[in-house]
């Protein structure tokens, strides 16, 4: 086993910091006693770690999880931008079973941490909307694939850059995303054309909105349709973010400042 030990030692020898993804308390305490800096990344800080990055989604893909953790830690100044990192995470089970070594500048900054932490809307609202979109993508509307467009945050400005296609079903209602009944409502209304507008605090302001931003200079990947173009354009024109469920390929995408930030496959999530 010495060969394997040597390999693992080599992997962790140069590490500037250790990233623990949703560790148990005993695991954290065992590792935090050492000399290297420890960053805990997880949905909540149950173990009262000193350095903590909140993970808003349970990213199934380890790459996404690591990317989010690294971007969050760099953004908050926990680690240097060129630091060597060792990540301990659970891929096949909840306990940590995987060691990866990564450099903080290994991948381009995708802005996925920025999407949650520095948007106008609250992170929990963005998470709830993403969850609705993912669920919608998984099940579709009565078995058929559906598309949907959610514009989250900066609702006042978005409302002024759009016009109603028909009566607003959410007129005089005060429901927020994340309320149990709302997921059903959103699912039902997703057959309507147009966008959902959601405010910073998660209130559903309107459905059935036709977005009219100026689409100049919006650069989104070729092959995406009008819905994605509208999403990219409205986020460039306002401080909102947009979450799109594609009708054709079933992927959930998030846009901010006119750029594609995050791509999730509902089936794998």
């Amino acid at each position: 086993m010495t060969g394997l030990d040597d390999f693992l030692d080599g992997l962790v020898a140069e590490a500037d910091a250790v990233f623990l993804f949703s560790p148990g308390r005993s695991e954290y305490e065992a590792i935090a006693g050492g000399e290297t800096e420890v960053v805990v990344i997880g949905p909540n800080n149950d173990i009262d770690a000193d350095v903590f990055v909140e993970l808003p989604l349970e990213f199934e893909d380890l790459r996404d999880r690591v990317r989010f953790g690294v971007e969050g830690a760099v953004e908050n100044g926990h680690v240097e931008e060129d630091a060597d990192l060792v990540c301990l995470a659970g891929v096949f089970q909840d306990d940590s079973d995987t060691v990866t070594s990564v450099r903080a500048d290994q991948f381009d900054k995708s802005g996925v941490y920025d999407l949650f932490a520095n948007s106008r809307a609250e992170p929990s609202v963005i998470r709830n909307v993403l969850e609705v979109a993912v669920e919608l993508g998984k099940k579709g509307q009565k078995g058929k694939p559906v598309g949907a467009l959610f514009v989250v945050g900066d609702a006042g400005k978005v409302m002024n850059k759009s016009r109603p296609l028909s009566y607003n079903p959410f007129e005089k209602s005060h429901v927020h995303v994340g309320d149990p009944i709302v997921n059903v409502m959103l699912k039902e209304f997703s057959r309507l054309d147009g966008a959902f507008v959601i405010s910073d605090s998660g209130k559903i302001v309107s459905a059935y909105r036709y977005l009219e931003p100026s689409a100049e200079g919006v650069d989104i990947p070729k092959g995406l349709g009008a819905r994605h173009m509208a999403a990219g354009a409205i986020t460039r024109d306002t401080n909102a973010i947009a979450i799109v469920l594609s009708e054709s390929d079933g992927l959930v995408r998030a846009f901010k400042t006119g750029e594609l930030i995050l791509e999730l496959d509902p089936e794998a999530y």
Binding site: M159, S199, D200
Partner: protein, 262 residues
């Protein structure tokens, strides 16, 4: 206690028969107390008491003695029934002096039972309330805020103790007065401290119900003009050119708003 049981039994049966009857009463009491024990257990379990008391210090203490809150309450109920049966049997057999000690004790027993029950319920509810409140306040990272759950807990303990003492016939007038003063002070402090919040809240409820303006409208309040970004119960947020005005809803009622249509 009006009816003279022992005398009646004595007239119906012989000396020896009386003894048999009191033994019978004892056995019947034992069976009845067992049934009461089972019924209480099942009743409490069905009412979801077990889940409600989970995690409270009282339950944990009970656990460390190898029992549970449900167990304690049903035990108390069973013991209550059994002691009643024993007293009845003693009374019938006329072993002690009937009218002096035992009758008074029998009259006292239900109060004792209710007092014990009130104490247990008070302890559990107080602890549970404290847990709930601190759960709510968990997101508030302020050490001083821990005072509020404690305050809630001890207020409930105090009321429970008051009920128990009242049942036992202890003079509680002074304590009741203290409770009244405490409650009065709480109401006054709440009124003074939350006066603006209450008024904003009342205005906010009207605004949410009637929606004179909604998100996306351009409005002017006093000199603040902008696009409405958010309306909640207490405040309205309007934004213009990178400035966000957070206006208490009571201001909207006091000075009115201007909706700007173009």
């Amino acid at each position: 206690m009006q009816f003279d049981w022992p005398d009646l039994v004595r007239r119906l049966f012989s000396e020896r028969g009386v003894f048999v009857v009191s033994i019978g009463i004892l056995i019947f009491g034992a069976v009845l107390s067992y049934l009461v024990w089972r019924w209480t257990r099942r009743l409490l379990a069905n009412a979801g008491v077990q889940a409600a008391v989970e995690g409270t210090p009282f339950e944990r203490t009970a656990r460390s003695f190898g029992t549970s809150t449900v167990g304690i309450i049903s035990n108390i109920a069973a013991v209550f029934v059994y002691v009643l049966a024993i007293l009845l049997a003693i009374n019938v057999a006329q072993l002690g002096s009937p009218d002096l000690f035992w009758t008074r004790f029998t009259g006292y027993l239900p109060s004792l039972f209710i007092a014990a029950l009130a104490l247990i319920i008070g302890l559990v509810v107080g602890d549970q309330a404290k847990l709930r409140v601190s759960e709510r306040l968990r997101s508030v990272k302020l050490p001083e805020v821990n005072l509020i759950p404690e305050l809630v807990k001890y207020s409930i303990f105090y009321v429970a103790a008051l009920i128990a003492l009242g049942q036992l016939g202890v003079e509680t007038t002074a304590l009741v007065v203290l409770l009244g003063v405490y409650a009065f002070a709480l109401v006054i402090v709440a009124l003074v401290a939350f006066w603006d919040l209450l008024r904003s809240g009342a205005a906010g409820i009207y605004l949410l119900l009637t929606e004179p303006y909604s998100i996306g409208d351009r409005i002017r309040i006093n000199d603040n003009e902008g696009i409405v970004q958010e309306v909640d119960v207490f405040t309205t947020r309007i934004e213009s050119d990178g400035e966000e005005h957070i206006v208490p809803n009571q201001n909207i009622f006091r000075s009115g708003i201007v909706r700007i249509r173009d």
